[in-house]
């Protein structure tokens, strides 16, 4: 008999198992292609682990329910695709402001609006950063394989618990549905992170009392400290404030949580980025074609590198900058009209050319498409 931890899993199955391994015990969702298997598996698996699954009346309800569950101290998540992700935006902002850990998995489909439900795309990159209104922090991971659906979902839980905020994991129709070998790492191997809780033995709890980390301790509902959660801008005690200095401090602090820990949050996969003249930059599934090209061209003696972002937000500006100082061209293959390219351009600050390869057909971007562009620059 083989190792039971090595399984052939669909990406969406791996995602569900990763969530369970990370300690998720609540799922609130609404079915939508190409993410529905995650809901179906959670409906089956959660009760086995003593957890709860609820199919809400829409995605607004889904995200509200998981924020509520998390406030009550249970790790919670939801999975969706573009239209549902759009509906969730207001409450994602609410989770940022109330600093409640939740995980949202967006299995991306092709195109705006209903788009092409069963086809793949990567058009929600900017939405993951700026989808909810006004200034707010964002942590977003991007999975390129079944294994990453498992590992990064678990990681998303850890990050959400640590930073007390929503974490989005982006995947897409291909990664969601592809069946691959997945090693089911144990909770010990993953290293489970739990939120920092308010001290229930202390007489007092100041909700916004933060140390250098800028991350306050959380009082779960059912606390003797009687927390008050609100989407209003709040002061140290947690209640509404309109004092300019308190407002300014509060909104800045939310983003500082991420800014200050950027080094810890950045997660990239690099191939030949030290000596490349042309560097491919990708995230998620398009990285599979990109790395293939980079490796093959390197094998042929060409100075081509590849950088794949496993953390897309916060954006690894410094990594791009240091590569920009060495290479002359970035090639950015992506299944949208150039969202990642914009960021690479911004971070490269004119130090290197940035060329996009864009496929929005609903089918996978191919190695040929990428190769045809890269070869012009080496």
């Amino acid at each position: 008999m083989g190792d039971a931890r090595v399984q052939l899993l669909q990406g969406n199955e791996a995602c569900a198992e990763g969530a369970l391994a990370a300690g998720c015990r609540f799922y609130g969702g609404y079915p939508i292609t190409p993410s529905s298997e995650i809901a179906e598996i959670m409906a089956f698996r959660l009760p086995q682990e003593g957890g709860k699954f609820v199919q809400m009346e829409d995605e607004i309800g889904s995200i509200a329910s998981i924020i509520g569950a998390s406030m009550a101290g249970v790790k919670a998540f939801t999975a969706t695709s573009g239209p549902g992700y759009s509906l969730m935006m207001e409450n994602i902002g609410y989770a940022c402001v109330t600093e409640i850990p939740i995980v949202i998995v967006n299995v991306m489909r092709c195109g705006p609006s209903t788009g092409q439900p069963t086809a793949t795309g990567q058009g929600d990159l900017m939405q993951a950063r700026w989808g909810t209104h006004s200034d707010h922090p964002a942590i977003t991971l991007a999975a390129a394989s079944g294994q990453e659906m498992y590992d990064l979902t678990a990681k998303a839980f850890n990050l959400s618990e640590k930073f007390r905020m929503p974490v989005t994991m982006l995947s897409d129709a291909v990664v969601g549905h592809i069946r691959e070998r997945v090693v089911l790492h144990s909770p010990d191997e993953i290293g489970i992170v739990q939120r920092k809780l308010a001290d229930e033995s202390a007489d007092e709890y100041v909700p916004m009392d933060v140390d250098d980390s800028h991350i306050p301790a959380l009082a779960n509902l059912g606390s003797k400290h009687h927390p008050y959660y609100t989407g209003l801008v709040h002061s140290g005690k947690g209640f509404f404030t309109s004092k300019p200095e308190e407002v300014e401090y509060f909104i800045r602090r939310l983003s500082l949580k991420v800014e200050k820990h950027k080094d810890e949050l950045i997660d990239v996969e690099e191939l030949g980025t030290d000596d490349c003249e042309v560097c491919l930059v990708s995230f998620g599934v398009s990285g599979r074609a990109a790395i293939n090209i980079a490796q093959r061209m390197r094998d042929a003696g060409k100075k081509v590198g590849h950088l794949r972002l496993k953390t897309v937000w916060p954006f690894p500006d410094e990594v791009i900058k240091s590569i920009a100082a060495k290479c002359h061209t970035f090639v950015v293959p992506e299944m949208n009209l150039g969202q990642l390219k914009l960021e690479v351009e911004r971070a490269a600050c004119g130090e290197a050319k940035v060329i996009g390869v864009n496929n929005i057909s609903g089918s996978m971007i191919t190695t040929h498409e990428i190769y045809d562009v890269v070869k012009e620059f080496v």
Binding site: F26, F44, P47, K52, I67, A72, G222, Y228, F239
Partner: protein, 274 residues
């Protein structure tokens, strides 16, 4: 000195409230926390959830575990809270706009699930917070800032809607009948299942002023003279029926889910034996 139950259940340091003079919401809040006191609810294990609106500001003043959510979504948040921890007593306060318009979908589905949550809808016949626009509960013909020629839309009887949607406890009071509010909220919390309580309350600043309803006292008198206890009603009067309108016992959602967990665990154990 405030009464002892107010000291226990209110965050006196956050007073005065933001509510206008003569607004019904202060009275409603007092009646609701009086119900908490009647039941001797443990504030550490009680959760008050609200959406957005004048009425939804209430949790800032109530000294239990409190959540001021987004407009219309309180019931969906509460569903997650209750499912995650059944031991919490979960009460939701919501405005007529919050519960019936933007949150209408969550309302009917929470009724349908019969989850053990108590919802108190503070119906002031308009959107108070945004200065008096019409809501789904604004009577037809009434004036609102967005119905300057009189509201052309039909209004809902929210108690009927709740009952038809599956709520297993449905009741109504007015702010004038403040003791009845306490009684109904107490009963609602005691009832196992989804409890729906509508409180007809006054917004003198907007609805009252636009509709020439007079002073807050006049509005309270109107509530008194235009309502009838369900026990005395033959169902034909043109009046607001108040009291316990409907009650039935039915399987509660969280309990049902717990049974499901037992079955799922048994099945898993059987499967691994095979």
């Amino acid at each position: 000195m405030p009464e002892a139950f107010l000291e226990k259940y209110l965050r006196l340091e956050n007073l005065p409230t933001i509510w206008c003079a003569g607004c019904g919401l202060g009275t409603d809040m007092r009646s609701i926390v009086k119900a908490f006191d009647t039941l001797e609810l443990d504030p550490d294990m009680t959760v008050l959830v609200s959406g957005i609106g004048c009425s939804s500001r209430m949790p800032a003043y109530v000294d239990v575990n409190t959540v001021h959510t987004t407009h219309g979504r309180a019931i969906a948040f509460a569903t997650g809270i209750k499912l995650a921890n059944h031991d919490l007593t979960v009460v939701v306060v919501s405005g007529d706009g919050d519960a019936a318009a933007i949150g209408g979908n969550h309302l009917i589905h929470a009724c349908r699930r019969n989850i053990n949550i108590t919802l108190v809808v503070l119906n002031n016949s308009n959107y108070g917070m945004t200065s008096g626009q019409y809501s789904p509960l604004t009577p037809q013909g009434s004036v609102a800032t967005t119905a300057p020629y009189g509201n052309v839309e039909q209004s809902w009887d929210l108690c009927d809607l709740a009952r038809a949607s599956g709520a297993t406890y449905v009741a109504r009071s007015t702010t004038f009948h403040y003791e009845l509010i306490t009684k109904l909220v107490t009963k609602g919390i005691e009832h196992k299942g989804f409890s729906f309580i509508e409180v007809i309350t006054q917004c003198p600043t907007y609805f009252g002023r636009f509709n020439l309803a007079g002073s807050p006292t006049d509005m309270l008198k109107y509530q008194k003279t235009h309502s009838i206890r369900i026990e005395r009603s033959d169902g034909t009067e043109e009046a607001i029926t108040i009291g316990e309108l409907y009650k039935r016992e039915a399987r509660e959602y969280c309990d049902h889910y717990d049974e499901l967990i037992v079955r799922a665990k048994e099945l898993k154990a059987e499967m691994s034996e095979d």
